[in-house]
């Protein structure tokens, strides 16, 4: 008994062989994580999100405000916003409700929380509740000039327009429209109520990461949002939807063991798959012999006859076969001529020579039906001759 040759590689050999791929996989994983951190993740998200580095986000603006000493607090629910604002003195509240989480009452509620409130792209309901004299105007693009007396606009004569604009429909001394005209609509409308100031902003593109460096957008945005030491940047979320607080999640309702038990079941199934899926050694190679079907030539020839509609050719082959069998039946030589065979069988079955000759030599089929009939007649003829020679 000599030292056996082990086919299964040892764990060390397997690891050595897989080392390159393990390193490659780790490297790719590292690259993926790094690039995700640099570029950002999901493509979709709320616009003007102060934590998003995407084009529609506003991280750049929030960061610059922080560097300038403004305390930027990002909130996602009305109660958090209220808490943040009650802790600070004079402050700015910036909020927008693109996804329609807030009810009219909540919007009004929010607008009364701070000294300066900036509402970006207000919807019809919010406008009706907060400033009935202002209405939504059409979309805008390009750049728009300040063209108003508000101090906010003094060092930002040109900003990027769009996506929406506002219009003052009832003359009101408190309402000042900036960046635009009565006809085209304004990008910004300020409403000064003495102790509180409400800014309705239509031209929110100017605040986005993409456009913040264009025109005088940066000056405009910093001036508007940096009025006070504290800026609360409120992005409404699902938490604001009424009644969401009372709905309990599955985790809260189920007993504590359900989640780990589910995981245990998944792991059990996984180990069961490994248990059953493990192959019992490699396959043994088997050399299979060639298999050739013997009547392939015959079938190929039949298909060829059929495709070219070689009816006469087929019938002739059948006739030759029949004549040979008839000759053998009558005790004639295989080489006997057709006429000899016909003359021999005609008296046997009492059929005129002419009709036999028609069947065995003359007639030519014009369609497949005739071919079928003739072939049946040939078989019938053989049977009749056989009966005549060897009666049962």
């Amino acid at each position: 008994m000599s030292e056996p040759t082990v086919i299964t590689p040892s764990i060390r050999a397997t690891l050595t062989r897989a080392l390159f791929w393990i390193i490659a996989a780790l490297f790719l994983l590292g690259v993926a994580i790094a690039s995700l951190n640099l570029v950002g993740t999901a493509a979709e998200g709320p616009r003007l999100d102060p934590t998003s580095p995407r084009e529609s986000g506003a991280l750049a603006l929030a960061e610059v405000l922080r560097q300038q000493g403004v305390d930027v607090i990002v909130t996602t629910s009305l109660s958090d916003t209220r808490d943040a604002l009650s802790n600070s003195g004079d402050s700015t509240l910036f909020y927008s409700d693109f996804d329609g989480y807030l009810t009219e009452a909540q919007s009004v509620d929010a607008a009364g929380l701070a000294r300066t409130v900036i509402l970006a792209e207000p919807d019809v309901a919010a406008l009706l509740a907060l400033a009935p004299e202002i209405a939504n105007a059409g979309a805008q693009d390009g750049t728009i000039a300040a063209d108003c007396s508000a101090s906010l606009t003094s060092n930002a004569p040109q900003i990027t327009a769009g996506p929406s604009s506002l219009r003052i429909i009832e003359d009101d001394d408190d309402a000042i429209g900036c960046y635009g005209s009565d006809d085209a609509g304004f990008g910004l409308v300020t409403l000064d109520h003495g102790d509180a100031e409400l800014l309705l902003l239509g031209a929110t593109d100017a605040l986005t990461n993409r456009d913040i460096v264009a025109a005088d957008n940066a000056a405009f945005a910093l001036r508007m949002l940096g009025q006070h030491d504290t800026l609360v940047w409120y992005t409404p979320s699902f938490a604001d939807v009424e009644g969401s607080g009372e709905v309990k999640t599955f985790d809260e309702l189920a007993p504590g063991w359900v989640t780990p038990a589910t995981w245990l079941i998944i792991l059990t199934l996984l180990t069961a798959a490994l248990w059953q899926g493990r192959r019992f050694g490699p396959l043994v190679i088997e050399k299979l012999p060639v298999t050739v079907r013997s009547n392939e030539t015959m079938q190929g020839r039949a298909r060829l006859y059929e495709r070219t509609a070689a009816r006469l050719h087929t019938l002739d082959a059948l006739r030759i076969g029949s004549i040979r069998r008839l000759a053998t039946l009558c005790g004639m030589a295989k080489t006997a001529s057709v006429d000899d065979v016909i003359n021999r069988i005609a008296p046997l079955i009492g059929q005129p020579v002419a009709s036999l000759r028609t069947l065995l030599v003359d007639v030519s089929p014009t369609n497949d039906n005739e071919l079928l009939e003739l072939s049946d007649e040939l078989l019938a003829l053989e049977q009749r001759v056989e009966l005549a020679i060897r009666p049962i």
Partner: protein, 430 residues
């Protein structure tokens, strides 16, 4: 490494502490416990790399028979081996079971028997042995495959040997051993014996009778020590399957029956398998040795997908014998195109030898001529008639060249060839 069902059950058992405590951390603790237990158990399993294997394979057997192959497994370690063993035979070796539970105590050896019923002729091989060695708890196994090669030869079945007694009896009728003896061509004087009633009076040897007081008859026996050369074509046409048997296997059956018959009739048999090179050759063997050499030569031969080179056959026959011989060519005589090579060399053989072409016919072609039920069937019947015509043309051409054709369906061909041989022998044409 391989997990066992017990390991899966142990993982599932974790549901008990999780439900009782209701703490998610228990899941993690349970998993750590289970994996640690499994790894410890695996560490106690005997390493397959230390085992020693030894094979005792059968040497050879006929196709259709059942044999058993032994595998001896020695456990040189100090622990008991608990394992499931798979002996890696080829699928066509026909192992009845290939997962066997085995327990080998320390420093002992056990035998593993695999029952084999091979499915095909040729050399059947075993490549390796795979062992799944479990620890005492049977949780995680070490699985290793070790190359332990083994092989045995599966010989052609020689099913037609059942016909041998009846044909031998007919052969003995030709022999002087039976009293009914016809004197004629192809027989030679054997011996003198006393007359018994029923003997042919014409065979009374009057001169011998005169020397003695009783009637003495001469006995005759067929000619002996003739040569029979069997050439089997292993080219592409012999790969065709007829009635689920390749042509070459039918040719082997026919060759074996003929050789058995001819060697007991006292003739010398030479056997050659040829396509473009000699695949097997048996020369100068007699008696039981002949058949065993023939089956050994046939066992590994499979048809090659190349055209048979007939031009070398006359010289092969010349190498086998310089005397007049019965040359049997086991091939296919189906279409004039494919038989061209055969027809070209036949004159060279027929000038000196008696040549028989043994060809398998396909009964499905004959059946196809009878089926006229559909349009497709009629065209097929036409093609089948055409094929039959081709066959008879080839047969006529072979007959014209002085050889004879024996063509039958696979089950009948060996018998037909044997009968043809007996007829030739009776007629003294060898």
């Amino acid at each position: 490494m391989a997990l066992s069902g017990w390991f899966v059950a142990l993982v599932a058992l974790g549901i008990v502490p999780i439900v009782i405590t209701g703490e998610p951390i228990v899941l993690l603790l349970w998993l750590i416990f289970v994996i640690a237990l499994g790894l410890i158990d695996m560490a106690f399993a005997v390493s397959v790399r230390r085992l020693r294997f030894e094979r005792n394979s059968p040497d050879r057997l006929r196709l259709g028979e059942t044999t058993s192959a032994q595998l001896l497994i020695t456990n040189p370690s100090r622990r008991r081996l608990r394992a499931i063993v798979r002996d890696g035979w080829q699928p066509s070796a026909g192992a009845h079971t290939n997962r066997v539970r085995l327990s080998v105590p320390a420093h002992e050896r056990r035998e593993l028997v695999t029952v084999l019923t091979p499915l095909r002729r040729g050399t059947r091989e075993a490549a390796h042995v795979t062992v799944r060695s479990y620890g005492p708890l049977r949780l995680i196994a070490r699985q290793t495959t070790v190359a332990v090669s083994g092989s045995f030869t599966v010989l052609p079945p020689f099913n037609s040997r059942k016909h041998l007694p009846s044909r031998l009896a007919r052969l003995r009728e030709l022999d002087g051993a039976t009293s009914v003896m016809i004197r004629g061509q192809g027989t030679e004087f054997d011996s003198l014996r006393d007359y018994v009633r029923g003997d042919d009076v014409r065979s009374i040897d009057w001169r011998a009778t005169a020397r003695r007081s009783e009637l003495v008859v001469r006995t005759w026996r067929p000619e002996r020590d003739r040569r029979v050369v069997i050439v089997v074509d292993s080219g592409r046409t012999s790969a065709a399957r007829i009635e689920d048997e390749p042509r070459i296997d039918t040719a082997f059956e026919a060759a074996l029956l003929l050789a058995a018959l001819a060697s007991s009739a006292g003739d010398h048999v030479d056997f050659i398998i040829y396509d473009r090179r000699v695949r097997a050759r048996v020369q100068g063997a007699r008696g039981p040795d002949l058949l065993s050499k023939m089956v050994n030569g046939m066992a590994p031969v499979q048809p090659e997908l190349i055209e048979m080179d007939w031009s070398a056959v006359p010289s092969l026959v010349r190498q086998a014998t310089s005397q007049r011989a019965l040359v049997v060519l086991a091939t296919s005589a189906e279409s004039p195109g494919a038989s061209h090579g055969l027809l070209a060399v036949l004159p060279q053989l027929t000038t000196k030898h008696t040549v028989v072409v043994a060809s398998v016919t396909d009964p499905s072609i004959l059946d196809a001529t009878r089926d006229r039920s559909t349009r497709d069937a009629v065209y097929q019947a036409g093609a089948a008639e055409r094929a039959l015509l081709d066959q008879s043309r080839v047969a006529t051409a072979i007959n014209q060249l002085g050889a004879s054709v024996v063509s039958q369906r696979p089950s009948e061909l060996p018998l037909a060839l044997a009968d043809h041989y007996i007829a030739l022998k009776a007629a003294g044409k060898l």
